[in-house]
């Protein structure tokens, strides 16, 4: 369970990233955070694995306030939180299997990982993860030989290999075209349902948020301005969150049937 209590974050340049955020996320939920760019979506997500550190309030993960974690404790926290990035963040020169095994680094000793000595179980797990996102045939391809959608699937496999309890996805489909975006979101939702991994996704596309989320959190200027199940969300809700009327480019679009057979 993740619980944010009166959480605020002011960046050194004075920008307020988060402002008195109070959110409780139960295990197994699929939460989508929506908001314009700069609304604090990234700051929200990055606070949970402490890529940024909130300046006020409390942030509990599994009952522990994580804000004073450092060193080994912080790394331990991070091993149970997987993260997916907008730009995939793979080592482009490395092949797919090596990139996926990077998810085991937090569970592997320093010396062993420097010499790429991963256990047989780890390698089997990495291969299994690749199979789950249907990219096991690209095992030995270099990451930079893959398309954007394939790279994002490799990064999902990397997170699966980490065996996390939570998955954070920071704009995972912002660099992808509509069909591939749906494919990636379907994988994320499938993993959430099958493994019960709590998943928090940042999106700025309204239609995608509506399609995949169980619950939507709306943010504006660092504040949570909406928090509720998808069933309660209407177009007015989004206009409220965005502070303006909905436009064409707030929608991702893309026909769902096209990608159905690929998943």
């Amino acid at each position: 369970m993740i619980e944010l209590k009166d959480l605020s974050l002011v960046y050194p340049n004075g920008h307020q990233g988060l402002k008195d955020v109070n959110v409780k996320i139960e295990d197994g939920e699929f939460v989508v955070i929506v908001g314009l760019s700069g609304a604090g979506k990234s700051t929200f997500i990055r606070s949970i694995n402490r890529l940024v550190t909130p300046t006020e309030g409390e942030l509990h993960v599994d009952g522990d306030n994580i804000l004073n974690y450092k060193g080994r404790g912080l790394r331990k926290l991070r091993t149970k939180i997987g993260m997916i990035f907008q730009s995939y963040n793979l080592v482009k020169r490395n092949n797919v299997i090596k990139n996926v095994l990077a998810g085991r680094l937090g569970h592997t000793g320093t010396v062993r990982s420097v010499f790429n000595l991963f256990s047989k179980d780890d390698k089997a797990l990495a291969y299994e993860s690749l199979k789950r996102v249907n990219i096991d045939d690209k095992l030995y391809n270099r990451a930079d030989e893959l398309s954007g959608g394939q790279q994002q699937r490799v990064s999902i496999a990397r997170v699966l290999t980490q065996k996390p309890k939570y998955i954070l996805a920071d704009e995972p489909v912002a660099s992808l075209d509509p069909p591939t975006s749906h494919q990636v979101m379907k994988y994320l939702r499938k993993i959430n349902k099958e493994d019960g991994i709590t998943t928090i996704v940042n999106l700025h596309f309204i239609d995608m948020a509506m399609e995949y989320a169980d619950r939507i959190i709306g943010m504006r200027a660092g504040e949570v301005v909406f928090d509720g199940p998808v069933s309660e969300v209407t177009e007015e809700t989004f206009e409220e969150i965005y502070g303006r009327s909905i436009r064409e480019d707030d929608l991702r679009g893309g026909v769902e049937e096209d990608v159905e057979q690929n998943v």
Binding site: N49, L51, R75, K76, L77, R78, T79, I81, G82, M83, F85, S87, Y88, N89, L90, V91, K92, R93, N94, K98, A102, G103, L105, G106, H107, T108, T110, S113, V114, S155, R158, V159, Q162
Partner: protein, 273 residues
């Protein structure tokens, strides 16, 4: 005139832009003028004279007369000292390549965020690089005595300075996004560097190491002249005995070996980049 009239006129009033703004053009012209002024000033100050250059070449025949015929008897000792030179270069290159790994990480601002450590490492490396190889050789031959050992230490310091600069800059240009991903998954700093940065810099690292090995072969000849062992010392000895035939043989041997090593290492570098 009539010809001009008959031409299509659609572009007549249109604006044809310069390829670069006039400010840029003026700047480039100014830079060229400054360079020419510097060139003229320094040739006037140093008294460089084209006549002298041409007259100097007439002395060439005197030297070539002495250098030929070449003395093949020196070939045996030349080969022995040549291997000594190559050994010096190999040992110095290997050690500098190993030591430069931590040094270049400390001298890369995307890895070393501590301002003091970063700048101190940079400063030490910059100071090392300003010392010419011959001066290093004189210092270490003075410390360790005439022979190969002083030469190796001199070459080691010399190549460490070059490698630290080249490799720390390669590390600085590495993509840090995978490192962020690894840190976010609980990897420690060493793991994130070994797994996220090293694969990115490895091809350049290998290439620069081979390049430094090439430089070391040539530099080891030069520092041999001041008593740091190897074929350079043999060359100096033969010079002082006015044994020019032998000098020419040694020059040919060095020439051949430099060409061969540069060819091989060039091929290897082509293959990995």
């Amino acid at each position: 005139m009539s010809n001009k009239m008959s031409k299509p006129t659609i572009y007549d009033d249109s604006y044809a832009p310069l390829l670069s703004p006039w400010r840029v053009k003026a700047k480039i012209t100014a830079i060229f003028l400054v360079i020419i002024i510097f060139l003229m000033f320094s040739s006037w100050r140093t008294g460089v004279d084209l006549n002298e250059l041409i007259w100097g070449f007439t002395n060439m025949t005197q030297i070539t007369d002495k250098l030929f015929p070449i003395n093949m008897a020196i070939l045996g000792p030349a080969m022995n000292t040549l291997f000594e030179t190559i050994h010096m270069a190999i040992i110095a290159s290997t050690f500098s390549t190993l030591i430069v790994i931590p040094v270049s990480l400390l001298a890369a601002n995307n890895i070393t965020t501590n301002w003091f450590v970063y700048n101190t490492t940079r400063l030490i490396m910059n100071v090392l690089r300003t010392i010419p190889d011959v001066v290093l050789a004189v210092i270490f031959v003075g410390l360790f005595g005439i022979g190969v050992f002083g030469g190796i230490v001199a070459l080691f310091i010399f190549s460490l300075g070059i490698l630290a600069k080249l490799i720390s800059e390669t590390v600085e240009s590495a993509d840090m996004q995978p490192v962020e991903a690894m840190r976010a998954s609980g990897a420690n700093t060493i793991q994130a560097i070994a797994y996220g940065v090293v694969p990115q810099v490895l091809p350049q690292f290998t290439s620069f190491s081979l390049y430094v090995f090439e430089i070391n072969i040539r530099a080891s000849v030069v520092i041999g002249l001041v008593g740091a062992g190897g074929i350079g010392s043999l060359l100096m000895d033969q010079f002082s005995f006015n044994n020019y035939g032998a000098v020419m043989t040694i020059i040919f041997v060095i020439f051949a070996v430099v060409i061969v090593i540069e060819y091989i290492s060039g091929k290897i570098r082509e293959a990995i980049i």
